[in-house]
Amino acid sequence: MSLKLLGEGFDPWTELQRHQAHNPQLAGKYGATSIFIGTMRDFNDGAGVDGMLLEHYPAMTQKHLQAISREAMARWDILDTLIIHRFGEIHPDDPIVLLAVWSAHRSESFPACRYLIEELKSRAPFWKKEVNGKDARWVEHNTPG
């Protein structure tokens, strides 16, 4: 189980390779890797968005993302999880979140990865503020699914 909260941009593909390279216990064990990458879009409700400020409650974020990972490990037969989430200033096309689950079989990794993103979206204390020129507004709701 690994968790990173980053204030600067990251490359999800590099992070995946790095995680696998630094966790040799996974080698030869996993037959499935399910990943989810959430990226910032450049529109919202038809209006252009220049960027976004992502605020969080660091200690609570850490606590709940660790709990979500532990719950996934307990519920499915999976080998490892990785969660990386951005905070701070984000621009269109920037990755915001990377979730990865390693398991022997896809029947375990797919639902576990889905669980991570759905629980993260409903429980982890992050808040988005969209910036468009001189205007800024808080995003009030996440859509389901």
Partner: protein
């Protein structure tokens, strides 16, 4: 492992430091109340709702406010005591599941 002395150590106060409740506000709620947070004398609040009222000078709490006591989600009637951290914030919007709303 927790030793019997842990509790005594936690409750021992440093001279000049009174036990208190830490209150934090995040995101749009921080802007609404005009502060990141404050500390309250623990005698001024026994519940999260009372902590809100004391910290905001009686302002009404917005209906969709979420509350966390010591980083766990809680209701407005949750008990708060010495050393607790109470946070108030709007609905969370993390993740980016291919959408921002």
């Amino acid at each position: 492992m927790r030793y019997p002395c842990d509790k005594a150590l936690k409750q021992k106060s440093i001279p000049g430091d009174t036990m208190s409740i830490t209150v934090k506000f995040f995101a749009s709620l921080r802007e609404t109340v005009g502060m990141e947070g404050t500390t309250l004398d623990s005698a001024s609040a026994q519940t999260a709702q009372q902590a809100w009222t004391a910290a905001t000078d009686g302002r009404e709490m917005p209906v969709n406010t979420l509350i966390a006591v010591n980083m766990e989600y809680a209701g407005a009637d949750a008990a708060v005591t010495d050393g607790d951290e109470v946070a108030f914030f709007p609905p969370v919007t993390g993740g980016a599941g291919g959408d921002t709303r």
